[in-house]
């Protein structure tokens, strides 16, 4: 396991080094991304310019939720955002090259890039987080303080697992990636808002099937000391790390199965 991590760092390091060579360009892109993703938050700001609450969430609370979701997603985007180009890898035969190397295929695909410029999105999320924490009244405990970084890390893993699992669709239908995008970007958009405002079937989907609710919603309930409108147990707020682990294992299994299909159906 450690050897794989070391190899990941080395492979990614090469990509990072080549991005850092163009320091100015990368920095500009980073700032650009930050500004662009700020437009996301404009929507929320505009909503609260007109109404005092969304569901039963105040501006500060929604901002907090948005921030957790955004930072998690940004971290995942930095690490595996290049999965958008995965179908190209298959079409051009680059994946075959991956199979000829003595490393797990998923590791190689994940290590193929590391987009520093997307850090801008994380920074924007941090800014919103800071803003949220200034206007919201949190009953701080050590637990609550730790819950934030933990939730962000677990959230990133959950997003990553979902994204990887969805991307494997390219092994079956190469061009289906567009469809997958609807889910990954839609899912990330959804987790920025309080779960209670969505219809029941949607809520059930993101709690029990594709566990996006554990990225930001449940951790936020804990930190903000709110109750879930649907009456789901508080304990779920602590479940994020477990859910993340399960999701990662599931994604690994889905990937392995997909590669098995690729290797028998004719690459």
């Amino acid at each position: 396991m450690r050897a794989l991590a070391a190899i990941y760092v080395r492979l990614v390091g090469a990509r990072v080094r080549s991005q850092l060579e163009y320091r100015l360009s990368t920095a500009l892109q980073l700032v650009g991304v930050g500004i662009l993703t700020a437009t996301d938050f404009v929507a929320i700001a505009v909503i609260f310019a007109n109404v005092p609450e969304l569901g039963e969430w105040s501006l500060g609370e929604v901002a907090f939720l948005y921030a957790l979701a955004t930072i998690s997603f940004a971290l995942t985007d930095i690490a595996i955002g290049h999965l958008d180009l995965f179908p190209q890898m298959i079409r051009e035969g680059t994946f075959d090259q991956i199979l000829v190397r003595p490393l797990p295929s998923l590791l190689q695909v994940v290590a193929a890039d590391f987009a520093l410029r997307r850090l801008g999105k994380a920074l924007q999320g941090l800014a919103v987080l800071a803003f949220a924490l200034t206007i919201v009244d949190v009953d701080w405990t050590v637990g609550r303080a730790l819950a934030i970084p933990l939730a962000i890390a677990a959230g990133a893993v959950i997003y990553g697992a979902v994204w990887i699992a969805l991307a494997t669709v390219a092994f079956w239908i190469v061009d289906a990636i567009e469809l997958v995008n609807a889910f990954t970007y839609g899912g990330s958009f959804l987790s920025q808002y309080p779960l209670g405002i969505f219809a029941r079937w949607l809520r059930g989907l993101v709690v029990f099937v594709v566990p996006l609710a554990f990225v930001a919603y449940f951790p936020a309930l804990y930190v903000l000391d709110k109750d879930d409108e649907l009456g789901l147990p508080r304990a779920l707020s602590f479940a994020s790390p477990f859910v993340a682990t399960l999701a990662a294992l599931a994604a690994g299994a889905v990937w392995r199965n997909a590669v098995r299909h690729y290797r028998s159906a004719g690459g």
Binding site: T39, V42, A43, I47, E178, L179, A182, L190, A199, L202
Partner: protein
């Protein structure tokens, strides 16, 4: 005129050739349609009217904006294609042909928009109308004006994209400005949130820009809350922007062509 029709047909067919992509795009719009609709429903629990829109107007807005997004090219190849051709030098061949590049591009774009009206906007709207309670205009007059507004929106959107593409004559790395333009357009056209939601004076100012003419304007006409209360005024504003952008495009293209010729491309 015949040539325009041919080009439009080609534009239509290029997108008709990839039904898979159309379905996938429609699916994405539907997903976001649901999400944004739920968000707005929650918003309207605390207010009856926002910016002149009631809840049924707002939901109509969601499904219309998601449906029209592809028609007016909020995203898509139209932001890059010409720029790429300029940089690879392919545009030189275009410039030698006996047709005007800008007019040809517009005709092609209109064909594309036509395809997307039929296969993205209409299904999207139908779905929205079936699944949610939305405003539906009773008077056929309003529908006609809406159609006219959409047509003008397409031309304005083309104008913006065309101008942005032309920067590739002068900038080697055009991607940065293009991405910025897309983001600007996204916000200022009302694709993310209705511009009418913006408070007070901001609402009015925002609705005067060419970006607003791309999406917000036609939806305003549909809903029946045009800026200043006059549909005619909104259509006139759209038409003005369409003409202004087309003229600017023509001038800039000439400048770019001159540069190309001088530098040898």
């Amino acid at each position: 005129m015949r040539l325009d029709w041919e080009l439009a047909r080609r534009g239509y067919r290029r997108y008709a050739a990839y039904p898979g992509a159309t379905w996938a795009g429609l699916f994405t719009n539907v997903v976001f349609g649901f999400l944004i609709a739920y968000i707005l429903l929650a918003v309207y629990e605390h207010a009856d009217v926002i910016g002149g829109y009631d809840v049924r107007d707002a939901i109509a807005y969601v499904w219309l904006s998601q449906g029209l997004m592809s028609v007016v090219g909020i995203f898509g190849a139209g932001w890059y294609e010409l720029a790429r051709r300029v940089q690879t030098g392919d545009v030189a061949t275009d410039l030698q042909r006996p047709l005007h590049v800008q007019r040809a591009e517009l005709a092609y774009d209109v064909g594309r928009a036509g395809y997307q009206v039929l296969w993205r906007a209409l299904p999207q709207f139908a779905l929205g109308a079936l699944l949610f309670e939305i405003t539906i205009p009773g008077e056929p007059g309003r529908w006609l004006l809406f159609a006219a507004s959409v047509a003008l929106a397409v031309i304005v959107a083309f104008g913006i994209r065309f101008l942005v593409n032309l920067c590739s004559f002068w900038l080697l790395d055009y991607r940065g400005p293009v991405v910025l333009a897309i983001a600007l357009n996204l916000v200022l056209s009302g694709a993310i949130m209705p511009l009418v939601f913006f408070p007070g004076a901001l609402d009015t100012v925002l609705r005067l820009t060419p970006f607003a003419a791309v999406l917000q304007a036609p939806i305003d006409v549909y809903v029946g809350t045009p800026l200043g209360g006059s549909t005619a005024a909104v259509l006139a504003l759209q038409a003005s922007w369409a003409l202004a952008l087309y003229a600017a495009g023509r001038l800039l293209l000439a400048a770019g062509t001159r540069k190309l010729v001088i530098q040898g491309g």
